[in-house]
Symmetry: C2
């Protein structure tokens, strides 16, 4: 089966919404951006042995490849609409492809995104997705909008994905089965916070998704916003699974420095805190206040009011890959 | 130097045009699609050892990665505007990156496209570019519009890129230096026919770019248009370099079946032939009439009026890779 057939057979959606004027199968797709909207565009690539362990199932790989891109849309407050897939595979394995495509399609349908183009090439396993979304032309979220005094929030429970990865990398690590399952799920199937991101669009002053670790990413947000922040370690969302499997101290390290969570890190000014409560209630996504924006240009951690030095071990592909 | 710094240092354009509301450096880019335009989107990935030989220079790899995507825009009659880059590299080599970025930026400036997002990951060399362009909402080129009686045209001199690849793969092949240089240039630096494509938008009935070989791609165009075609072998654009290096017979094979040319294959109805002459004169791109659309559902080659059977050996990544 040739390249053209592969794409056509596995990756042609059954139907498109009306904004896809021409879908998979020509030299390019043709899409309609409605008046009053801006186009939001990002790309994220995952590589076997770097972003996921060798042996990860086709379904989990597909989920992760799309979820990390959906997360980029969430971080902008954008509604994801379309994506293209570049799939580099060592061989043309029909069972693998069919599991990959089924999982990809399931997640795409859940989040209302449509595959509009693809390229299948031969080579070491590498999945690159480029995603596009729409955002009202009256504003979007950036990393650069945090202001002195804004509160810093994070969604969900950061660190659990990194805990899952630790379990994969160290199979001898003891863990109760329910915790093991929970942590693996958080690594293999991070939840893109799209609804939360869209709800935060006119409410948060800055946002980004946590892919490299909470501390590293808060530093990036502060650098973009030309500010600093405090972080209260005792306020970090507690993970029963992490504490139970790794102990309190390592659990805190994972929460601060583990990557791959794809939670939203965002800042909200005082005047919007009440509205944030409504968003949390409406979306059902727990968001925890973990710190506050300062004018210091550094991120300072505290435990019960005492300053704490945390060694930075944030995840970076070229250093940690 | 970390991933974030790599992208920022080498791939942040010095400036953006006004339609890039937010460029490289946040979770996603924000772009303005002007009223009256549609968004055209494609992705093409090139992998070392499959799409280009091991040892290809960083500058040639960058050129090719972007050129094949620009060619997809040309095939739609779209004006390329923005692209994202996913760069998977075995190591963080600053000289390689700086040559890659310089070449990419040169080509981007020449064609008026802007890098708006990127991801740098560690792994086997793989360059994926996703390109977006704009086309008037009153029409774009597809593969499916060819109609009975339309004339079939091809731009440039197909086969020369494949000839260049033959010289790379078979270093013992004799060739006059001027021909060798010419053919290598056609392989490493295909010319995306963007201006021609844009000019053909309201003129051609169907178009695609020739990446898998003239015969294979004409079959694809016919399949999309639910028609057939004749092809006159004596009408194929003659390549002095191919004939000289490989002889007449092999030169014809390369013209028919060699991939990688990124020329435009398109169909034009009788009534638009005069207008096509003006486009050819204005763009300076030679376009040769090589056949005609039929209602047979097959592509039949002729030499001096006699039907000829040509064995299909079109390039396909999974079969030929």
């Amino acid at each position: 089966m040739g390249e053209f057939d592969l794409i056509k057979r596995y990756f042609t959606p059954a139907s498109y919404s009306a904004d896809v004027l021409l879908g998979v199968g020509d030299d390019a797709a043709v899409l309609a951006v409605p008046p009053g909207y801006r186009l939001v565009m990002a790309v994220d690539t995952i590589v076997e042995g770097v972003h996921f362990p060798v042996g990860t199932s086709a379904a989990d790989i597909a989920y992760r490849a799309l979820a990390v891109n959906l997360s980029d849309m969430a971080a902008m407050g954008a509604q994801p609409r379309w994506f293209t897939l570049s799939l580099c595979l060592p061989d043309s394995n029909e069972q693998w492809l069919s599991e990959f495509a089924r999982s990809l399609n399931q997640l795409a349908i859940r989040y209302g995104v449509q595959l509009v183009g693809g390229d299948t090439v031969k080579g070491p396993l590498n999945i690159s997705i480029q995603i596009s979304g729409l955002v009202g032309d009256d504003g979007w979220l950036t990393r650069s909008g945090a202001r002195l005094g804004d509160m810093v929030f994070v969604s969900g429970v950061p660190g659990e994905a990194a805990g899952g990865l630790q379990l994969i990398l160290n199979p001898q690590q003891q863990a109760e089965e329910k915790y093991r399952q929970h942590l693996l799920e958080r690594f293999y199937r991070p939840t893109p916070r799209v609804e939360l991101g869209v709800s935060l669009r006119k409410l948060a002053s800055a946002a980004m998704d946590v892919s490299d670790g909470l501390l590293t990413d808060l530093r990036k947000l502060c650098a973009s916003s030309r500010c600093g922040a405090t972080m209260q370690l005792e306020s970090l969302p507690a993970s029963e699974a992490l504490s139970n499997v790794f102990g309190e101290s390592r659990a805190e390290e994972l929460a601060l420095q583990g990557g791959d969570d794809y939670e939203l890190l965002f800042t909200v000014s005082d005047k919007n805190l009440e509205q944030l409560d409504s968003v949390i209630a409406a979306t059902g996504v727990a968001c925890t206040r973990i710190g506050q924006i300062t004018d210091t240009l550094t991120v300072q951690c505290y435990r019960n009011g005492m300053p704490i030095e945390v060694k930075d071990a944030g995840f970076d592909h070229f250093n940690a890959g």
